[in-house]
Symmetry: C2
Subunit: 242 residues, 2 copies
DNA sequence: TCGTTTCCTTGACGGACATCAACAACTTAG
DNA sequence: CTAAGTTGTTGATGTCCGTCAAGGAAACGA
């Protein structure tokens, strides 16, 4: 695969140069040689909103880094009730190590760009590089922390608190669109009302009503259904029940 | 610390001989030499029901293996609402690697026996033994899977389904008391109604009513409040919504 | 023995959220 | 342009589960 040499990036594959995963993500654990080896079998691609990433056969044997966009992980009961069990933002890792088939579905909720590689390559590298395994362990621990926080939200918070918690979660994970004000924050919601409902264990009607309430009470502003401005983060945090 | 030699267990510390964690738990990753090193700083102890394991100062700097009994991990909102975010059975590992302070409380819900060691020792061994880190990663991934399954239960199941799911969870993790029948299963509930409610995001009254309903419908029998007999596991699984 | 506490069950009632339904604002196809 | 589909909002109504209250059963200490 492509690669070039220059003063500052000797030996790093071109594919990886501007890649966020190389800094904050898993690939940060690899030295230039390993990056080259991995990039030989890796492929970068852009998928549209709604694309199924895991559940279809193609990707079961591949791991991916999320480079941009948002991916939802869902589980579905036999009768169709659905729950989002995780949201992956860049530079998160996608795929369940040490397991052949996935117990969840993964679907792009925005346009998503991915860098993916064969399972076998990653697992071989993990044996050579303890640092890679360490990063994977750390990311898994972080996801476990997040899942447990969300258990509290689903189990013990009211609908109003759930919606406020959701807005704060997104605000923390999406790069805000401009604004130097530390009290306020603006961003585009990556999820539809239906996805938000599936994330919060509510119906779309309840989500809509709670957003309306936050709007009429002056805590947030909503434009074009998707763009949200939080006027006072601290105040919204109080509404989130913690 | 104590150790002895014999034909079958040369060099394995006496402390570890009959230990379940040495087979299915983390210590299975260690060779006899490492076991000896670890056992020099490890201490085994029995704690009574209700003992706080994490949250008190003593244990923050120690990791533990659960050797028997059940530990609940809880989170609490500012106003006191509580949610159990995990149950640890033998031979689970207790403690959050790479983090100084815990974001949760851990409390014994039965008499619990623990084997604990200093954080520093474990983290040093992890660097030497990739196999140890691998086991820790695997256990963390398993806990993440369980937490995500529970998100579905909290977010999308009815009270009746939640209680049925809970009984099945316990049945899977507690050694059943005798009985060769594969359809039925009997065990003692390790949790009070209040704990069950905190696990399911319900009130104790609702838990009690749902248990009564399962009882009157002939799916289970309950003796002395704690002892449960599931008559037909498959039928209960259908009640659990999957 | 009795009182106290803890744990659990059961009933009556109300409220938070789901369900059902109508409609508005956009988008896309023809 | 109109028609049809998608996405979101709002209102009316119902229901599941929380809240409040009373009381039984077992454990424990005085």
């Amino acid at each position: 695969m492509l690669q070039r040499r220059d003063v500052h990036n000797s030996d790093i594959p071109a594919l990886c140069h501007a890649c966020e995963a190389r800094h904050r993500g898993l690939c940060g654990a690899l030295d230039p040689q390993q990056l080259i080896a991995l990039s030989k079998t890796s492929s970068r691609r852009e998928v549209p909103t709604g694309a199924e990433l895991i559940g279809e056969a193609e990707l079961v044997e591949r791991y991916s880094n999320v480079l941009s966009g948002v991916v939802k992980l869902t589980k579905t009961l036999k009768d169709g009730r659905q729950q989002i069990v995780g949201l992956q933002f860049a530079p998160d890792f996608l795929g369940r190590p040490f397991k052949a088939e996935s117990a969840m579905n993964a679907e792009a909720v925005t346009t998503v760009s991915l860098c993916s590689f064969p399972k076998a390559t990653v697992e071989r590298m993990m044996k050579e590089s303890p640092e890679l395994e360490r990063r994977l362990l750390n990311q898994t621990l972080k996801q476990l922390d997040e899942a447990r926080d969300w258990l509290v939200t689903l189990g013990r918070k009211t609908a109003a608190e759930k919606v406020a918690s959701f807005l704060l979660l997104i605000a923390r994970n999406i790069d805000p669109t401009g604004g130097s004000d530390t009290r306020s924050k603006a961003f585009d919601l990556p999820l539809t009302r239906s996805d938000i409902a599936d994330f919060l264990g509510l119906t779309i009607e309840t989500v809509s009503r709670q957003l309306t309430k936050l709007r009429t009470q002056g805590l947030i502003r909503i434009e074009n259904n998707r763009h949200v401005v939080i006027h006072d983060i601290a105040r919204l945090e109080r509404r989130a029940g913690q």
